[in-house]
Each structure stands twice: as structure tokens, then as C-alpha cells.
Subunit: 337 residues, 2 copies
Amino acid sequence: MNLSSRAEPIKLGILGASGLVGQQMLRLVMQRRWPLGELRLIASAKHAGQPWEVEGQRGVYLEASGQAFRGLDLLLSSAGGPVSLKWLPEVASAGVLAIDNTSAYREDPGCPLVVPEVNAHELDSMELGQGGIIANPNCSTIQLVVVLAPLLREFGLAQVVVSTYQSLSGAGTDALAAFEDGTRRAMAGETRDLPASVLDVLPQIGALDEAGHSEEERKMMTESSRILGTEISLDVTCVRVPVRRGHGESVWIETREEASLAQVLDILRSAPGICLAEGEDQPTQAGTAGDLDVHVGRVRGVSGSRKRFQLWIVTDNLLKGAAWNAVQIAESLFVRV
Amino acid sequence: MNLSSRAEPIKLGILGASGLVGQQMLRLVMQRRWPLGELRLIASAKHAGQPWEVEGQRGVYLEASGQAFRGLDLLLSSAGGPVSLKWLPEVASAGVLAIDNTSAYREDPGCPLVVPEVNAHELDSMELGQGGIIANPNCSTIQLVVVLAPLLREFGLAQVVVSTYQSLSGAGTDALAAFEDGTRRAMAGETRDLPASVLDVLPQIGALDEAGHSEEERKMMTESSRILGTEISLDVTCVRVPVRRGHGESVWIETREEASLAQVLDILRSAPGICLAEGEDQPTQAGTAGDLDVHVGRVRGVSGSRKRFQLWIVTDNLLKGAAWNAVQIAESLFVRV
């Protein structure tokens, strides 16, 4: 994309700038040479006042306050739901466009929930220079809908079953540090054994609701239908696995129309944002960390049916699953300006 | 069970006795105080001649040979498919009953493929004192059919979709050691980062066939229908995760008859070999390692349907997934003697 199509430099704020996603937002904005008029990094009280320096720009981390947000054009926000709920209404009223990576506004009908490859048209009412809140979807949802959207459009979807393999970075800086420290301490000892409590698979992410779905599962079901623009029958089990970065998803679909495997592969090959692995090398979480694409592999027809297929989806949860999707949303607005 | 119902002490051989599963077979036999008349531990040439001592019994590891097997009543075998193919026909012809944990005889219609909770009746033609080969199923298959069998019997199964979370011990001693050594080396360095190549999720176990299924997936599909005694529509994605021990399975089922969640829970609660987790604590791989049961959690109705359910299954792949199932098979034969 051509960012120079925007004449005015952007006054950008990043809220939650010291977190795992905030750091990736900053890195992407720099790498992609956004025309920045101003850059304010806003973080928790713990970091406020500490200096930062990035690619020749420097400053000190600010604590969130009315003044910290004043005069911004755009705020990329990823400091947790309560922080977003506290500040974004005021920020949006003051004319700042906020792209929020928390779950705070994802079910708010007044806030578009957008994956640019799927429903960029929902940004039509939003503009830089006018205040508003755009919600960035849940990480596991984003990579799923990028793949489901073209299949839904072409063949319809009668049923989707997903099991996730979500990395520890999805649980934030502290969880990741605890995992690494626990593993390091154990490995420094005399024992051959890694600690059971560190290397485990946890089949529940977030509290269970009355129906028995976890918070993460509920997010995926609710958000996917909203982004795809139609109610789909989607059953999900969300599971945490001991990898640092990247989320995997094992996906089973039943289409409404019959399709050949070749047709499914054709659709995926030409769909935006997807990198299709067609050889023997399957995309893995460690192998695709740092990459912006949604990687798809293990595509195959199953059940001896022309309507049932299985596939494997993996992407970097900190990038396409969070920071990169937010940055893409912002860039699609620049282009229109 | 009452092993004292058997008057004659058993002459037992364990083939592959130095491996991960062989060691668990030995441990179980000792813990359960089998009436052993003789115990021969048979291993690869690398271990042959080395001494062993277990619970007051001692000996040296033998290399496989006609003499090593001669006069045994029972052989528990877990030294890899090629070793089984080489020795078991001769061993069985010589009057030894072999329970084989490899995939060598699992598709042989002359060899029962048995999970005692599901199809113990297929052992009716087998007897200690008469030669023969009984196949122990694949680890991931065993834990699945223990759970599917009672549901199939009660409600029928129209479709089953499974994604596995299989531990490194399923890949054998060397894979497990490589993982632990790689992690230890990385943690001894200065970096905060764990090595990507060590902590990763691998969405393929074994070579892919023409239809795109991996060897492990094909085993689960073929073996499950054989053990359950009916062709079931089962679609599987097998995935390796970086945990040491225990396999998890995320399972989605569609029943033929309508069922309430309460009915499904009732069936699972009273089924043999299953430990049903009904509270907030979900069974995990590290949390259930060393346990003989198949643990089931996250049971819930989905899709707003009275025919669709999801659940989480986990068991120790070295125990119920291998050594314990083989020992159970043997014990069910003792009782009949």
C-alpha cells in the first residue's frame, strides 16, 4: 500500500505500548514507515516516566490521562478491557479514532468488528479525523475467519468444528515470563525431568459459562458470525499449549454445496491473506512466528464426502491475531483519506 | 482382579524391555504382583548382557533369539513393528501367547485387536498355554474407543471429529531425550528465549497417504472401527505437542438418537475405565500422568442440537495407551485360566 497518499502526518498514540501486542504495533508502524507527526506511547503507571527510543524518535512513556490522548488522530489500544472501557468513550468523543484490541467493544453494534480481508466494507462509516471505536477481533477468531470467509462465499458452511492450539503469549507478558522462568529453573537442577506444571496442555481458556463454553470459545463463536455476516454453526474447543508464540487450529468443515478438493485448494490459494502449504512441509507455530500471513496446511477431503474437509490453520497471534490486523485496519483508512 | 485364581506361576518375557513402554509394562507387572515363575527382559543388542534388578528379581538383558523366547507362557512385546514381524510368528508357533504393542498385527484378521473395556469378548479364542498374537491398539485409539463405545451403544454415532494433542513420549525414548536436552541447552544460555525448534506443535505424525491422512490418523480411523465392531465416520487430525507424557483429544460427536447432556454424563459416569471430571478442574496431561484411567472433561452439548456434543479426553499414553492396556488383556486371560 502507498502511505504517501496521505498528505498529513498522523498523530498516533499506542495505549498498552509496553505489552506484547503494543510492542508489535510499534514495530509494525515503524517498519511500514507510517508518516508520523507525533508518537505517544502510553502504558501503565509502572512504566510511566521511563524513556523510550525507537528508530530515532524518543520520548517517555505516558500514563493514561485526558491530556495523553488530546489531539491524537489515531489510537491503537491494547491495554486490557477495563482500561479500554475507562478511556475509549472519552477519547472517541474528543475526535480520536481508536482501534481497540481488547474484547471491550467487540459486541457493541456501534463499533465495527473488522478483519480487513473479510469485512473491510464495515469501515465505510469510519474516518480518520472523526472520533470512533473500531474493535479488533480475538486472535483465534481472526485466523479462522480469514480462511472460512472465501469458503463460505463459494460453498456455504453447514457446520464448522474447531480445536485450537494457543500459545502462551496469548495469555500476556506475565504468563509467558512465568513459563520461561519455570522451565529455566527446572532445567538448572539435576533432574532430567521437565516440570509437569510448566509443560502441560490446558483445555480451558477463561471461565466457563452455563452452557459449559469457555470465555475464549464464546468469543470465537460470537465474533465469527458477526464478522462473516451470517450465523454459522461453529463448535469450538480452545486449548492452551506450551509454545511461546503462534496459534494453531485444527478445523473440520461441512459445506452446503458439494466441492472437490481441487476447488477448495483453488479458493484458498487465491484468497487474500492466506499462504497455502501444499507440499509435505506443514506450517507450524514456531516456523511461522514473525510472519504476517495466515498459513493453511493439511487440506484434505474426509468422510468419503464431497462436503467435508479438514485443514490446519496457523498464524502469529501477536501479529495477524492482534497487532497486524489493527495496523491493517488503520492503513485501509489512510488509503481512503 | 484376583491373580491367585491362577495356580501356575507365569513364565513372562518382555520384548523391548528397555523402552518407554517396556519399562511401564515391567513396573505394572511388579506392582500388581503377577505370580511370576520366570521373567526374561529382552532388549536390543545395545542393552544385551547388561544386568537388571527389579523387586528382588535379577538377570541380564537378553538379545532376541529363539532361545530367549523358548518356554515362555506370555510375551509382552513393544520393540517396534519390524522386530515384531521378525519374531512373533515363530514365538506364537512355539506356543507362546504374545500381546504386541506395535502396529504390525493390528490389521491382521487372525489377531484380535482389543481394548478390554470395549471388546474383551474377542479374546474368547485365546488362551495362555496356546500360542497366538493379540494386538494392542494405537495409544490415541485406545483412549478414544473407551469413551466412544458406551455412547455408540446407547445413542449411535453419526459422525465423530477428533483433534489430538499427543505428547513426545509417544515418539519414543530418543525423541523425548532430544526434546529435554534441547530445552536444557537453550535454558543454560543467556537468552530469555526458548528455542523455537524445541517448543513447537507439529500437525503431522507419520507420512501422509494419497488421501492426505497421516499414518497416525489412518491408524485411529482403521482401528477404531475394528474395535467398535462397526464402521464409524471418524475424521481425525493428529498433532504432536511439547509435553512429556499423556495424550489429549478434543472430540466432537453427532449421535444418531437424540440425547440430553444429563444422559450423556450418566453414560460416561458409569462406563468402565473412565474417570469423569464434572467440576471446574479439567483433566490435563501433566495432571493425570501415571494414572490408569481415561479422564473425560469439558462435556457439553453444542450447536443447539440434542445430537451434538463436545468433550475432552486425556490419558497417559504409556499406560492405558500402551502398557496398561496390554497388562489388562493379559490379566483377563489369567482370570479365565
